[in-house]
C-alpha cells in the first residue's frame, strides 16, 4: 500500500452534512464517479491531494532502491527488465501527479512538499537493497502488497485517480512476476544463492506487512475515507489477504517466512501471523529509517541539478514562441 495513514479532512462523526455535502455523498453512494470540475467538499479535495500525492511520491522514491542495482544486474536481460520496471515506476508517478493536479495543486508544489517533509512517501522505500535477491523480494513482496491495495482503488470515487489505477494495475503484474522469477531462479540455484534469497525474504517480510499501515478498525480517518470511497478496505483486511496469498508462494520457493507463529487457521480460512514491530514503523515514518536521509537527499539533488535543464527548455520554448509570433 503506497499511501499510509492518510489523515482525513472530513467532518467529525456526528456533525451534520450541508445539503451540498449530502448530495455529494449520495452520488458516491450511488456509485457515481466524481470528476475534476464537479462540486466537492474541501475536505475530500484536500484528503485526496494528500493521498494521491503520497502515492505519486512513493512511485518516484521507489525507483531509488531498485535503481541501485541497474548497473549491477547479473545479466544483460535482467538489466533491460529492471530498466523497464524502473521506467514504469516513473510513469506511475506521472499518472498519479496528473491525477492529483486536477484537484488544484501543481506537481512542483507537491515536489516541494516532499522535499521539505510536509508530504510523505511509503515507509518501505527507506530500507536498503543490499543484494540482488532484494530486487526479487521487492517485485514479489512490495509490488505484491501494492497490488492488493491498488486493485480495489480502480473503483475509487474520484475519476482521474481510478483511471490512473487501471493503467497502473495493468503494468504492476509484470513487476510482481519478474520479482518472483528472480526469486525462483535464486531459490533453485546454489546454496549461496538460496541463502541470499532467504535473507532477502527475512529482511523484507515485516516491512512489507507494514506497508498496509497499523490496524485502522477504529480510526475515524479511515471511516470517513471509506465513506468517500477513496479507501476501499481496512488495513487488516488487505494485510490478511496479502499473507494468505504470499505464504504458499514462499512454500513453493522452498523459503521460510520469518515468523514462528505463522499457522493456518481453519476457522477463519486464513493464516494467523505475527504483527510487525509498529515502533519501528513509526520511527521510519518520523524519518529515522535506515535510508530516509539518503532518499530525500537523492530527490533534492535531482531537483537542484535539474534546475538548469528545466529552465533551459523553458527558455528555448519561449524563444521559439516569440519567433513564431514575429513571423505571423
Amino acid at each position: 500500500m503506497y499511501a499510509q495513514m492518510v489523515k482525513s479532512e472530513g467532518k467529525r462523526p456526528g456533525e451534520a452534512l450541508s445539503p451540498e455535502e449530502q448530495a455529494f455523498q449520495d452520488r458516491i453512494d450511488a456509485g457515481e464517479r466524481i470528476e475534476p470540475r464537479d462540486w466537492m467538499p474541501e475536505g475530500y479535495r484536500k484528503t485526496l491531494i494528500r493521498q494521491i500525492g503520497q502515492h505519486a511520491h512513493s512511485e518516484i522514491v521507489g525507483q531509488l532502491p531498485e535503481g541501485n542495482w541497474i548497473t549491477r544486474a547479473p545479466t544483460l536481460e535482467r538489466k533491460a527488465i529492471l530498466l523497464a520496471k524502473v521506467q514504469d515506476e516513473a510513469g506511475h508517478g506521472l499518472y498519479l501527479y496528473s491525477a492529483a493536479e486536477t484537484l488544484g495543486e501543481s506537481r512542483d508544489e507537491m515536489t516541494q512538499k516532499l522535499l521539505d517533509g510536509r508530504m510523505k512517501y511509503s515507509s518501505i522505500f527507506n530500507y536498503p537493497t543490499l543484494t540482488w535477491a532484494d530486487i526479487g523480494a521487492i517485485g514479489w513482496l512490495v509490488d505484491g502488497a501494492a497490488i492488493m491495495n491498488q486493485v480495489p482503488l480502480q473503483r475509487t470515487s474520484y475519476g482521474p485517480y481510478a483511471r490512473a489505477m487501471v493503467r497502473i494495475c495493468k503494468e504492476e503484474s509484470f513487476h510482481q512476476r519478474q520479482g518472483y522469477h528472480i526469486m525462483m531462479k535464486m531459490a533453485r540455484g546454489t546454496d549461496a544463492q538460496r541463502e541470499m534469497a532467504q535473507d532477502a525474504l527475512n529482511r523484507f517480510w515485516y516491512p512489507s506487512l507494514m506497508m498496509f499501515g497499523p490496524s485502522d478498525k477504529e480510526s475515524v480517518h479511515s471511516a470517513q475515507n471509506m465513506a468517500w470511497k477513496i479507501k476501499i478496505n481496512t488495513n487488516d483486511e488487505l494485510r490478511q489477504k496479502f499473507v494468505d496469498q504470499t505464504v504458499p508462494q514462499a512454500e513453493f520457493l522452498g523459503l521460510t517466512v520469518p515468523d514462528e507463529t505463522l499457522c493456518w487457521n481453519e476457522e477463519k480460512g486464513g493464516y494467523d501471523f505475527a504483527e510487525p514491530d509498529w515502533n519501528e514503523f513509526f520511527e521510519v515514518l518520523k524519518g529515522n529509517g535506515p535510508c530516509n536521509a539518503e532518499r530525500i537527499g537523492a530527490r533534492q539533488k535531482a531537483w537542484d541539478d535539474g534546475a538548469w535543464f528545466r529552465d533551459g527548455l523553458s527558455a528555448y520554448a519561449d524563444k521559439q514562441q516569440a519567433r513564431r509570433m514575429a513571423a505571423e
Binding site: E35, R37, D38, W39, A84, Q87, D88, G91, L94, Y95, S98, E101, S106, R107, D108, Q112, R163, A164, R167, E171, A307, R310, D311, L313, S314, Y316, A317, Q320, Q321
Partner: protein, 94 residues
Amino acid sequence: MSQEWPLWEIFIRGQHGMSHRHVGSLHAPDAEMAIRNARDVYTRRKEGVSIWAVRSTDIAASSPSEKGPLFDPADSKVYRHPTFYDIPDDVGHM
C-alpha cells in the same frame, strides 16, 4: 521557484483505426517535447500509433452545472434509435 512547464492533454490513436482518445496529461516545455514525453509515458507497450498533444489551457469544456440543459433533451427522443421502429420479421434484415 522557476517557471513550471505547462500542462498538456495527451490523445492517442490505438492500433485498430480508432479515433484519438484522451489518455491523460503531462508537463512539457513545448509541443515537440510533449509528444516525445507522451511516447515514453503513454506508449511503452505499443498502446498507440499516433499522438496528439494539446495545451490544457486551450481546451474549452462544458460545465457540470449545464449537464441537465445540455444532455437531458435527448432523453425524450427515443425515435432517434432504430429499435424504436417495429418492422415485421417478414420484411427480412433491415
